[in-house]
């Protein structure tokens, strides 16, 4: 249906991005295709070394899934920081990752988790890594007629440390700056780290150099400071009511620092 109706047609998932835009008359699609009835898009499955989440799974379902909570607790921690309870009942994982809004939290998280997106069209399916999916503001790898249907996440190793640290003006706000961190520790040595940033650039940002810098490193003020500095270096936040570009850059560093510390604490 999407390919038939072309670019004048948008899929309707949770509706809490598209409908507010329509109310402000910033978007005026001729057609909306309601995905609400498609049960295949609502599954969560954990096993065989990976986690598969259907695009229509809501934030509330992510938050309350016992399976996910055990296998990958950073997901629930991040969901809880998105919007408010009502929005979380409706907002979907697919909606949050697919539209290319740099303010959304899930894209950064998925980059941190090295997730893969399954994109389907009437012509078939393909997979794109979350780290390669985002090109610019509302500009993603999705082509016309394509829809994101599934998110696949390699299950983080047992005993991993995790944290999603989000600085915001109030509950429900987009991030002034946020960092998602996954670490694997061996004593006080970090064996591997994965760091991604939210809302401090045109897209979510995977901090490859910062992550690399911690591999095999003793975690202390110096190494953590260096990782934070490297992460800050890739940011280009806009100046808005959340703060100046300089402030938000610095806050990205602060969030990275705090997320690394908290993740390390939680690792076993």
């Amino acid at each position: 249906m999407l390919s038939e109706l072309g670019s004048d047609c948008r899929p309707l998932a949770g509706g809490h991005s598209i409908i507010p835009m329509m109310k402000l008359r910033l978007a005026a699609p001729e057609h909306l295709v309601d995905l609400g009835g498609i049960d295949e898009l609502r599954d969560i499955s954990v096993g065989g070394g990976s986690i598969e989440i259907g695009a229509m799974v809501t934030q509330h379902e992510l938050l309350t899934s016992a399976e996910l909570g055990k296998a990958c607790p950073i997901i629930a921690e991040t969901s809880a920081l998105i919007a408010d309870p009502q929005v979380r009942y409706c907002g979907t994982l697919g909606g949050n990752v697919a539209n290319g809004d740099p303010g959304n939290d899930m894209p950064g998280l998925m980059q941190c988790l090295n997730a893969t997106y399954v994109l389907e069209s009437s012509g078939g399916a393909r997979e794109v890594s979350a780290r390669e999916f985002y090109h610019g503001v509302y500009d993603t790898a999705l082509s016309d007629g394509e829809m994101l249907t599934l998110v696949r996440i390699p299950t983080p190793p047992a005993g991993h440390g995790y944290a999603y640290s989000k600085l915001k003006r109030k509950v429900g706000d987009y991030a002034t700056a946020a960092a998602g961190v996954i670490v694997s520790m061996s004593g006080s040595t970090c064996q591997s780290a994965s760091i991604a940033l939210t809302n401090v650039g045109d897209t979510a940002l995977y901090a490859a150099d910062a992550s690399e810098s911690l591999a095999g490193a003793e975690l202390n003020d110096e190494t953590i400071g260096r990782a934070a500095s490297l992460a800050e270096g890739i940011t280009s936040p806009v100046t808005d009511m959340r703060g100046s570009e300089e402030y938000r850059k610095k806050m990205a560093g602060v969030m990275v620092t705090r997320a690394i510390r908290l993740a390390a604490e939680r690792a076993s």
């Binding site: 309707l12 509706g15 809490h16 409908i19 507010p20 329509m22 109310k23 402000l24 909306l32 309601d34 609400g36 509330h60 919007a83 408010d84 309870p85 009502q86 929005v87 009942y89 409706c90 509950v171 429900g172």
Partner: protein
């Protein structure tokens, strides 16, 4: 614009209406069905004054199209009291604890609190505050709202224990 027929259950009653595909659920309720408990307080889906219970979830009815509620079960504040007219413990607790002043946010707040207590029958104060973080109030400063929800929770838990 062509009209669409939508049918759903609101507060236990089966209703039908003809709407545009762009008609919001809040307007279906307030304009077509004359259910004016839920209110409109903003235009960016922040304030929660429009909150209703749709198919077991607290939703902002200003951010849902009426057609999305097809075959749905909607509960608004008007449907909270018992059939015999006695009030829901939350309604009573709000009155007993001065949990409202101008009353504009109250319908959304009550319906949200009801679902919150179903999610979490024994919430801590912090959990209550997080649980109503999608409902803004300008009059009360929330303190007595939290007190009321806590009191209602206790009341409801006692009642359940007794049954």
């Amino acid at each position: 614009m062509a009209k669409t027929k939508v049918s759903l259950t609101v507060n236990g009653n089966e209703v039908e209406a003809e709407v545009d595909s762009r008609t919001l659920l809040i307007h279906l309720l307030r304009e077509h069905l004359n259910i004016t408990g839920p209110h409109i307080g903003c235009d960016t889906s922040h304030c929660g004054a429009c909150t209703v219970d749709l198919n077991g979830k607290s939703v902002k009815s200003c951010t849902v199209l009426a057609v999305q509620a097809q075959d749905g079960q909607v509960l608004t504040v008007e449907g909270m009291a018992n059939a015999d007219g006695t009030l829901h413990p939350l309604q009573q607790a709000f009155m007993d604890n001065h949990g409202l002043q101008c009353g504009f946010c109250t319908p959304g707040m009550l319906i949200r609190a009801q679902r919150l207590l179903q999610e979490n029958p024994n919430p801590t104060e912090d959990e209550i505050r997080a649980g109503i973080s999608g409902n803004l109030c300008r009059c009360t400063g929330y303190q007595n709202i939290v007190k009321a929800i806590s009191a209602a929770a206790q009341q409801m838990n006692m009642k359940e224990a007794a049954e």
